[in-house]
């Protein structure tokens, strides 16, 4: 069977060739480069990173992905991770890494840039921008007079089959975690079961809910505030309005995006400098005006279109404690019969 042996040999050669072909493309690992694993989308961060390189001469390399996937990746990599900085879309994923012991302590001058309520208690990550939980609704299907002031009204029969949530989504889970912290597991479960009994519609993510509201599939949905602004910018014909629940209601929780330096990084100074840059006034203005988020650094206000939100107004909730018990939250969501 000479043909066979030839083929076997060729296949081995092919593998070796492929392995060598681009071995030379291995990434640069010098001090002048900061490597970021970013759960934040490229469109929503790249311009700031370019400014950072321009002003400091420090090159930035970014791996984009979902916050949770990148967090799992960082756990697998452990102390061999090439990453210096981790950017998360929600507190849950960055708290997870903190629990795994993978985060380094941030310098106090970085921590002091934001109010204490939006940074980690032991100083291992800071909030960079904020998203508020709101009720997005279709004005053709909901009379503004009927809009609730609390999420607890959503288990009312008036909302049967008309409400959308994203039970598998990080923001929703963070919100449920906050609810547990505020009213306890039993009450939270009762509320989740009430939603399920009310035929709540499950979607994979916030943007899908906003789109479904726009096309009239559901009347309203629990989402982060900026998706509606973005969809409106993309599609002027989109039908959808944000409704802020009462400022002291759990439903208007503020969820922060987090930034952290990896303990395994051998470039921690530059990594911290980058996070400091994300909290500079120009970067914070970018988050406010370009991505419709709430800036978190002291002294910067939100974009004109967006109503102000008060930090810490939500039942004195310490947002950084969010995500501390994700498994418990997931259990409750599953127990209520929702796809979580």
């Amino acid at each position: 069977m000479p043909t066979f042996h030839r083929l076997a040999k060729t296949s081995v050669f092919a593998l070796v060739f492929a392995l060598l072909a681009s071995a030379c493309t291995s990434s640069s690992d010098d001090d002048a480069t900061v490597t970021i694993y970013s759960g934040r989308n490229e469109e929503l961060i790249r311009p700031i990173l370019d400014d950072f390189t321009e002003q400091t001469g420090i090159e930035v390399e970014v791996r984009y992905g979902e916050s949770a996937d990148l967090a799992v990746l960082l756990t697998e990599e452990g102390d061999q991770s090439p990453a210096d900085v981790y950017l998360s879309q929600s507190p849950g994923a960055v708290e997870f890494l903190d629990d795994e012991g993978l985060l380094a302590e941030l310098p106090s001058d970085v921590l002091s840039l934001v109010p204490e309520t939006v940074s980690d208690a032991d100083g291992r990550w800071v909030g960079v921008s904020g998203r508020q939980r709101v009720l997005v609704y279709n004005p053709d299907l909901v009379d503004p007079a009927d809009l609730p002031s609390s999420v607890f009204e959503l288990t009312d029969p008036a909302w049967e089959g008309r409400l959308g949530i994203a039970p598998g989504n990080g923001s929703f889970q963070d919100f449920v975690t906050a609810m547990r912290g505020s009213i306890g597991d039993d009450e939270t479960l009762t509320w989740l079961e009430g939603l399920e009994a009310n035929d709540v519609q499950s979607y994979p993510k916030n943007s899908a809910i906003v789109a479904a509201v726009g096309r009239g599939e559901i009347a309203a949905g629990l989402v982060n505030h900026y998706y509606n602004f973005r969809l409106l910018e993309e599609d002027p014909n989109h039908v959808g309005l944000n409704h802020q629940l009462a400022s002291d209601d759990l439903g208007s929780l503020l969820i922060v995006t987090g930034a952290a330096v990896l303990e395994s990084s051998d470039n921690q100074d530059n990594a911290a400098a980058l996070i400091e840059f994300l909290l500079s006034e120009d970067s914070q203005r970018f988050f406010a005006d370009e991505t419709f988020e709430y800036p978190l650094a002291s002294g910067v206000g939100p974009s004109g279109d967006i109503p102000p939100a008060e930090f810490g107004s939500v039942a004195d909730l310490d947002v950084t404690g969010l995500g501390a018990d994700l498994p418990g939250t997931r259990n409750l969501i599953t127990e209520a019969g929702l796809e979580g």
């Binding site: 069977m1 593998l15 492929a18 996937d69 061999q80």
Partner: protein
Amino acid sequence: MDVHAWLLGLGFALPGLFVLYRAVRLGSDVADSIDRAVGPLGRTLLLSFSVAATASVVGTALAWLIVRSNLPGRRFVRVLGPLPLVLPSFVGAAAMLAAVAPGGVLDGALATIGIDNPRLRGFWPAWILLSSFTYPYVLLPVAARLASLSPAAEESARVLGRSAFGAFVSVTLPSIRSAVASSGLLVFLYTVSEFGAVQLLGYDTLTRVIFASRLSDRGTSFVAAALLVLVAVAVSGLERAMRRPAHADQLRASYVVERARLGRWTAPALAAVWSVLAIGLIIPLVSLATWATRAVSGGDIDAARLLEASWNTALAGLLTSVVAVLVVLPLALAVVRHRSRRARSASVAVVSGFAVPGLVIALALVFFTLNTPGVGWLYQTLPLLIAAYVIHFGSQALGASEDAVLAVPDAVRESGLLLEASAQVRARRLDLPLMRPSLLSGGGLVLLSTVKELPATLLLAPIGFRTLATDVWGSYEEGFLPDVGLAALVLVVLSGTLTWFLVLSRAEALRAH
């Protein structure tokens, strides 16, 4: 040969081993985790069997119509037929959801037939959409097999009074059965691993458990992944065991095809073919095009970025398809021609790899690369990414390679042995020309899957390596639909062009000889 089979089997089994290791290490309460995964497992099985059965029938029928019938416009259908495969499933599903929504491209049409604001959620939409997206897995190998099969027996049956359909069932079907079975298995495994579309369509399967609990409850996540691997190994092992010993074609290979006349069946056949294409390709494309026009009219098209992504996509796709075919062809020879048991076990590992979600394959390679001394330099390089793709998609090249080996009649091989001493000359002048249609179709399938792969690409690619699929994902994630439409259309055009020039036109050229 044994060493090759062992190494290959081990390489392809890495994700499974990793998952089992992690499930044992992290699964603190396995009974509880399994309890949670049983419902989704049932739904996974139901959906996967339904989709596999439907796609097998549709793909085989389409293949026969293209290769053996006088269907009007069959050349056109031949180019469009494989293309539903190039849309990442979440894009296809999202485009379809947008199409039936108020203001979508189908909204008016649906309203006139009395369907108002349909909700595409649950089993039925998932079944129909996934079947329409996956039948090309069957179409390509079966069409290749039909093309390399002599029509003489079918013609004799016709002469002896069988109907076209009767001749197909009694004569042709037995010869293409292994191709249909192995590609139906691919569809099954694909559906098992599918995440994007079922999630959008709200059908709760095992992959969703893996994803939803990957941070919050890692034990459950890996136990669910382990269940999925077991299902994949069991089903592919079963398919392999039930297979009758395959025989190479004993008829003289011939390429003169007398096409069956459809006659009064022409109109129904055309309607069926174009309905399938409409759901799998045309409607999603029109939706994507409406999004893309907003990007074009908005004027913010980053051509350099699209070009870079296209180049990377093509490079990764082509390298992967060549490597995958070269890696599994020896295995196919060992399985089919030499009936090697070890090779058959290895082939189960190769086939099962397709059912493991890309995220899990990526994490497995992270684990093994970083924990094996001496290979750390491979981490997050293109070769490692290609290796992940080959592990994930090698199964598609394997089925086709086995068909390729079957396409060389024993008589031809024996005459070759008598007449030509040099193995090299025999391989070049006898084996390869006969194997070519199937090998190309296998490479084509791998190419089409690779260019849209996402989770492994995001985690394992060299940093900054942007592909069309990662661009589509990034834009979709944040709701930038015009960019989604644009990048997805470029992906479709690129994959269509590559498959045409590298696969279809070459398989065609063969017949001119």
